[in-house]
Symmetry: C2
Subunit: 348 residues, 2 copies
């Protein structure tokens, strides 16, 4: 069905003629046309909740670059917003919740939203984007991980030290587990709905799991991602990617939870990651986004270094190790995408 199914094949570790590439946050602020649409929408949340504009910005990078996938334009915090926490964005400070979860009573009130009702705008966007894509490319859906959602829900926003969250974790682990249980059910239902609406790959973004100790990561982040992945196992043809920023140390554990692919940030040598995971999972990554500030020649050289580190054979999806910086020159992205397509052929 798909005209370009390279991504799907790579995620399932099947042979491909070249290494597919997509870019985390590929529809984003480094693109002038994205900023125009966002300005038209008013606020970021107005952009997220309008399926027509989500479709527009999802397609923008595909018009510029020969990417091998589209990714649903949305935010990782739509779920807690649908739980009634009141998501808004403060310029230069990132996401904020008006009503963070503080007390035991707040936690008791939490319920997983019904994705087809309270997150209907996301499903409408998925449906519209799929129509617009005309089976040219696969569409990736995603969610924040249960733990990462909990971080924002408890802190009320991003944090340098996650003091509130960690105080809860070490003082009342039972309460944090209650939040995580709700989040786990919510994420599962949300991703299932996205799949039913048409996404062809799903990805869990665990942005903050890497701030935990090894033991706390297993108990409070990985265990819940495993539950999500296991609950989605019935969707056999839909590859599942798990990405914990800063999770390289725990790669073996992550690779064992039943996901098809593991996303890597740029701190880990992808060759070593491959040796450690064997043929259990595909690997996605992992160029330092800062490489895109360099010349096209350097970008090609660094991209080749990642390709060569992974080595010959299937199972590699090229990506940055983190979202693309808003300060990136789009011309450099073209150099990367074309470079990966061209340079990767010798490894297949």
């Amino acid at each position: 069905m798909l005209k370009n199914d390279t991504l799907i094949r790579a995620l399932l570790r099947q042979p491909t003629p070249y290494t597919p590439i997509w870019i985390m946050r590929q529809a984003g602020r480094y693109l002038p046309e994205y900023n125009d649409t966002r300005a038209r929408a008013g606020s970021f949340m107005q952009l997220c909740t309008r399926p027509d504009l989500c479709t527009e910005v999802t397609l923008q990078p595909l018009a510029r670059f020969k990417l091998d996938a589209a990714i649903l334009f949305s935010d990782i915090l739509t779920i807690p917003d649908a739980m009634g926490l009141g998501l808004h964005f403060v310029e230069g400070e990132g996401p904020r919740f008006e009503r963070p979860v503080h007390s035991e009573a707040d936690i008791a009130r939490l319920h997983p939203p019904d994705p087809d009702r309270e997150l209907r705008y996301v499903m409408d966007a998925v449906w519209q984007i799929r129509r617009a894509l005309k089976n040219e490319l696969p569409l990736i859906g995603f969610s924040g991980s249960p733990f990462t959602l909990a971080c924002y829900m408890v802190e009320g926003g991003a944090s340098a030290d996650f003091r509130t969250l960690k105080t809860l974790l070490y003082s009342r682990p039972d309460l944090l587990h209650r939040i995580l249980d709700v989040n786990c059910r919510a994420v599962t239902a949300y991703l299932a709905s996205q799949i039913e609406a048409g996404v062809q790959v799903v990805m869990l973004f665990d942005t903050w799991g890497g701030t935990l100790s090894a033991a706390a990561y297993r108990e409070f982040s990985l265990a819940y991602m495993q539950r999500v992945i296991e609950a989605l196992a019935g969707y056999r043809g839909v590859p599942k990617i798990v990405f914990t920023k800063g999770g390289g140390l725990w790669l073996d554990d992550i690779a064992a939870i039943g996901c098809d692919a593991v996303g890597l940030d740029w701190t880990m040598d992808i060759g070593e990651a491959r040796r450690r995971t064997g043929s259990r999972v595909a690997l996605q990554g992992n160029l330092d986004p800062a490489v895109l500030f360099a010349s096209p020649e350097t970008i090609r050289a660094e991209a080749r270094r990642v390709l060569a580190a992974y080595g010959k054979g299937p199972g590699h999806v090229f990506n940055l190790g983190h979202g693309i910086s808003q300060f990136t020159d789009p011309e450099r992205v073209a150099a990367l995408v074309d470079g990966v397509h061209e340079l990767s052929r010798e490894f297949h």
Copy 2:
């Protein structure tokens, strides 16, 4: 000579009756008496440059807790300040340089300061602290790593993405290498002077090496720390500790540069770290500083978990995995220090 040489013995992997403990940033803002002294000094830099006040704050935590070491009170950025970059501190924003290094001409002008002249105030503090300690406890000296100093020198302060530094790294690596060469010589001379003035252990703080890719870390951070450690090899009785925050993935490489001990942040299981490094180095760490927000019982349980993960035998120095938070209750620190002393006996 030293009445309590437990730290030195543990760093050299010799038997000790219990696991010694000190705490990164143990003389700091969580202590009311520290805040009093700092207020008296005026600014943070005035505090750092007055040997009498440095001595006072260095000793403050020792009066409260049965710590096994003192650490020189100073800042990791004294070297670039002595290079003329103009260090100052902006409330709530951390360190800033008035004259960051931007152009090729700026870089050409850089020279390692003479520590006994331009950093004389540090050596005077070392000398005064040693006198005040009366050989009760060892004194740890330290420096920022060549790469971490370069981060601040190029960015002009802390940064979320180190965009300026990384642009230089990927666009003009030759220029970054020139800065790092100057820093390397400066750090070596600075630590040698600290040792001559009386410090009995030295530690390199590589706060930002963990933001690099594996290949860039080896080339731009680790290689220069190795040069520093090798240049100090003649100081045989002075153990050398290297700490890269976020460096767990590269532990094997770090352990091979000739240092006596490796500091670990809290993300790595210290038992796994020990298995990977064998008997090559001692390990220092690695409790999540956020554990100190929990109850004394939880603090003891989590401390025991770290002790048990390391296991029986010598070579472990207990510490947090990062500097203590300013929001820590000093009573909790007492619970940790006493807990480690008591609970660690069964492992020796």
